[in-house]
């Protein structure tokens, strides 16, 4: 199933496929958020934004408006509801 990081549910994992926007901050890439790497959604802030992800061993929080531009394929669907 294809989706974006913004659509992940807690505990779901995916592999980053591509960025749908060119001008994503380079900082995100430096943190290990690169195509081919694994992402897991760790937590969602109480107001649904920002989201807290573990990508390639880096634990980072990003805002939803950025997460929506990271396309991925879900590999492990053990969402916590």
């Amino acid at each position: 199933m294809e989706t974006t990081v913004a659509h992940l549910k807690r505990g779901q994992k995916g592999i980053i496929k591509e960025f749908t926007q060119d001008l994503l901050p380079i900082k995100l890439l430096e943190m290990g958020c690169l195509p081919g790497n694994e992402v897991e959604l760790v937590q969602v802030a109480p107001l649904k934004d920002p989201i807290y992800i573990n990508v390639n061993g880096s634990h980072i929080a990003i805002r939803r408006d950025m997460a929506i531009h990271i396309a991925l394929e879900i590999i492990e669907d053990n969402a916590v509801i």
Partner: protein, 730 residues
Amino acid sequence: MSKQINVALIGNPNTGKTSVFNQLTGLNQKVGNYPGITVEKKEGICKLPRGVKAHILDLPGTYSLNTTSLDESVAVELLLNKNDKDHPDVAIVVSDVENLKRNLLLFTQIKDLKIPTILVINMADRMDRKGITIDIDLLEQKLNSKIALVSTRKETGIDRLKELIADYKNLKKTQNVDISVIAPDYFEQLKEAFPKEDIYKLWLVITQDVNFMPLKKTLFKDTSSFSTKSKSELKRLQQKETILRYQFINGILKETYKVDVNAAKGFRATLDKVLTHKVFGYAIFFLILLMIFQAIYGWSEYPMDMIDGFFASATEWVKNTLPPGVFTNLIAEGILAGIGGIVIFIPQIAFLFLFIALLEETGYMSRVVFLMDRIMRPFGLSGKSVVPLISGTACAIPAVMATRTIENWKERLITILVTPFTTCSARLPVYLIIIALVIPEGSFLGLSFKALTLMLLYLMGFGAAILSAMILNKILQIKSRSFFVVEMPNYKLPLVKNVAYTVLEKTKSFVFGAGKIILAISIVLWFLGSNGFSYEFKNAETIVAQRIEEKGYSANSEVYFENQLEEQENTLTNEEEALQQQELQERALSQEIASYKLEHSYMGYMGKAIEPIVRPLGYDWKIGIAVLTSFAAREVFVGTLATIYSVGNDEEETIKNRMEAEVDPKTKKPIFNLASGISLLLFYAFAMQCMSTLAVVKRETNSWKWPTGQLVFMSLFAYIVALIAYQILK
């Protein structure tokens, strides 16, 4: 003695870079600013084996050499500019054993600058618990570099690091990654255009977002010889570069770095679940806030009282010991009062930074940012603005200093500018006395009007802060890219040493930075209040003595006598009573002289001069002076009125009685009535009356533009609100 070795410490945030710095330098460190910008510059001296010394520069934390903030560009500029006096002979990249992969990105970039580089793998003590094993020898080989495995917590590995620094001449300067493969044609062109320059260095200069003034110009005198690329093309190449570097790193780590995944998780996940929970998360945050408040209000009361007492007795001592004269008065009333006004803030500042340091060291602060970001965003603030805004209710000075954690300059500036609206503790004495005077008895829903007024004033402070943030967000045209990537570091027990250094250093930078300005203004205020040019000022003693002889003591002094005698009741003999009477009269006389002098001093004339301005707000010239002097610090208001009404001591009750009795000579109505009282409350709620805050804002923004704007805007706003209130209620 041989030349010092220049060492630059560089690394990702949260890798314990500061701990390594503290271990290397001990207390031999100093903190300043880079010339012309607000980026903090930390440097220190480290003693190496064989009598060699190293100058250690702690560069701002950065994830890579692709700069996005001023802090980061400082690091890059230093590494590129060989002529800088701090240009490193050797760079130490500090990494965290758990995030080695990400940390190596920065390492390969620095290595490619051909600077001798040592890799520090910090937090080695966590390896067992996290199931990590590293083949250090193989890793050294693959990276062509020396590695020091360090634990700052257990204090191991530092000696090896020192050895490596002393021996820096034997470090290899080979590059790790050849970046020209990402766009061979383009880099070929570059090489032709600038045959003398290193390719990677050129690439960095071309791609930097932040301007690097001198370097960029010298490199691009002649750009005609090769075609430049568009911004988005460069961006794409930067992305390619990052991917290339990660490929290199992944390849190496596959052979040298092993993690047993099952050992890793657990504690962190559980704690995260609780601390960022939609109910518990906020509840815990709220409880921590309450505790910090309690500390700042409650615990710092004792040391503050002690400091206050100490300076009072020091002033007394100076007056009694030194020969009377202008010089003694300058020391006692100008300099000592000024220094006292600085030192009194130390306990609050120290407590606040103690808590902030603890929250940051443990990793909790990132969770607060995570919780609050969405709530703050509509106001042009970020999750990181929460801490300063809340600390502002204690004191705006440490609060403004606490904004340093906000990377986005616009969000940081807005936070700095609106923080002084929050009700700081210095407003409290003013509020309390005026509320007691003018707000009627009675209650609403079980809460007294007085308490409600106080609460309303606090709410108005927050409201004004949030509203002006919204306005500033609309008007300020500052280009700073709004990205929000916050690392959520692992939870750690704080290191006592790091916390202690932080508290010490922040307190020091307040005392010596803002302190100078506070001292200067105190001296000016003292001068204006204790000098005058008029006949009345110069002959105050004889005039007042004559007046008392003719008309008796002023109403003010009569109240003073009554209060003093009441306290002692009738346990005294006649003789004692007579003696006391005489003593009281002497004191009353000197107070009346002081009051008369103040009225005819420069300050007094200034008060009279501004009376037309403050009249529409319902104040007379005396309140005018009090408002003027409380520019130094709000709580001075009460003290100044005490001097003017010549009330001998600072005891609130007596001042209150005097204020209550004060009537307008023309209308015969009380000066402090509901209208003028509310007007005063509102004025103090919004006006920027704190030179210490202005001094700190100047220091933090490195320009007089922002504090001046703040002063003008807040004072105007306060004036208008107070004016409207008075005119309606009058």
